[in-house]
Symmetry: C2
Subunit: 319 residues, 2 copies
Amino acid sequence: MKKNWYVGVDIGGTTIKMAFVTAKGEIVTKWEIPTNKIDEGKHITSDIAQAIEEKCKELGEEKDILVSIGLGAPGFINMENGFIYQAVNIGWVDFPLKEQLEEKTGLTVTVDNDANIAALGEMWTGAGDGAKNLLCVTLGTGVGGGIITNGQILHGVNGMAGEIGHYTSVPEGGAACNCGKTGCLETIASATGIARLAVEKLADYPESVLKATYDQRATISSKDVFEAAEKGDKLGNKVIEEVSFHLGLALANLAIALNPEKIVLGGGVSKAGSLLLGPLEEQFKRFALARVAEGCEFKIATLGNDAGVIGGAWLAKQV
Amino acid sequence: MKKNWYVGVDIGGTTIKMAFVTAKGEIVTKWEIPTNKIDEGKHITSDIAQAIEEKCKELGEEKDILVSIGLGAPGFINMENGFIYQAVNIGWVDFPLKEQLEEKTGLTVTVDNDANIAALGEMWTGAGDGAKNLLCVTLGTGVGGGIITNGQILHGVNGMAGEIGHYTSVPEGGAACNCGKTGCLETIASATGIARLAVEKLADYPESVLKATYDQRATISSKDVFEAAEKGDKLGNKVIEEVSFHLGLALANLAIALNPEKIVLGGGVSKAGSLLLGPLEEQFKRFALARVAEGCEFKIATLGNDAGVIGGAWLAKQV
């Protein structure tokens, strides 16, 4: 039987992750190429096309085993025509990504944003486990989100749906966010936000182990905070309590609207596991309607860095 | 050409609203029958079937001009099989609504909840004006919601999606809500909530015209509050400010997730018009991402009591 593989592509600011994926969502092979940002990113489509051809040769396969390409990119995207209005980390401005990549590969290309394809990947073969109503939250340097309703990624009217890092958690007097607002969830529940909360509270907890860390390194990481909390440090636990309160409240309020089957947490902060998940679920149950909380399960993302290429392949498969 | 009409049915605790609707969403005729709650509501399906037959006779039409029935009901519903788990206001417990009504009418029946069919009605021929991503909020005795994503009503995993009256607006020390939680949006932005806020603040505003109203009637309505505010009353304006803050924040946070094209406000409180809409939009813009706010328009619902039967007909038309 002829092989039918889908190409998943996940474009980041430093590397482009690529994979050939079967119709069942299994990765046949995956690899990375550097993101070539010179000339405002105009060589990226040629690089991807070339990488696909070379990989086929390397595997001894004809290119016609590839069905289509699904691709995730950062920035403001028109998902219907695969046009990138702007992607600051790459250099693209008004870039016809879908059109160019289709021309260079001869394959149909579907484009979505990077947070969304990661959510689709987790839905397909990861922690989402096929759930048709899914809320994916990435707790990394920032806070990203992808929402799946009725089995489809939610884009909204101008592609902004799922930007839950900018849920306003502190309406008055919150910390400044990169988006220009203040008090966004991202200023609290991201790795950066967690570190900031710990530093701000240092003066109130002179006996904390984090004080020594800060004196030594002039910085605290979110990992330091969780490690301290695990050893019973009061400051560490206070920060986790505050993060859980705000994240639990925000997720409960979104769940009351969306009634998701699963909430999948990914990104570096999610590696804290039960240390975060325990207090978070407690706050979630406190603020969600009972029937909403009963219907909803928290999961830690399982696909890691592969979520994007698998979600890209899922997208490719829908064409 | 043969007429093809859809039957829209909107079951309430007191009356059942019914209409024959064309494929374009125009009401041919509409009428009401009382909700017969005796014997735990078991006669309701016969009543509806009989009312449909009589109306056809009255119009001199054969019953075969009717294509299908779309129906909205209150309570906890399994939308897939039209089974009502519980509808307190009607008396139904474990009632096979779809199955019974299909048997009695010979027509295909689709069931959804009452807030959702009102949202579908506004989407089809009302203030939603065909928008595929729509957030409908009913500000009445309580606060209800219906969410449309990608042109489909959002049900979520167990039919609870869109229950935005139970968004937690006051996480600590909020007023008790009927749902068992405290601080729900419904305790602030419903007609009941608005009246409560005014009464609570009376002591701080002895010069308010609402003081006289309260002394006379021992009660204040939300209409009184808006009328007072319109005349420049400080208490009236203070209450509107508080309601706008909480409702604007909640809608902004939901819009950041959903990125809707329109937010449609219905229910008695929405009749306050620009008196509420002005400060509400101001708070919404303060808390929403700029691109989300730019893509989103506020509208007052236009279909009034007809929204349900028109939405029911829309639902019937999808079969």
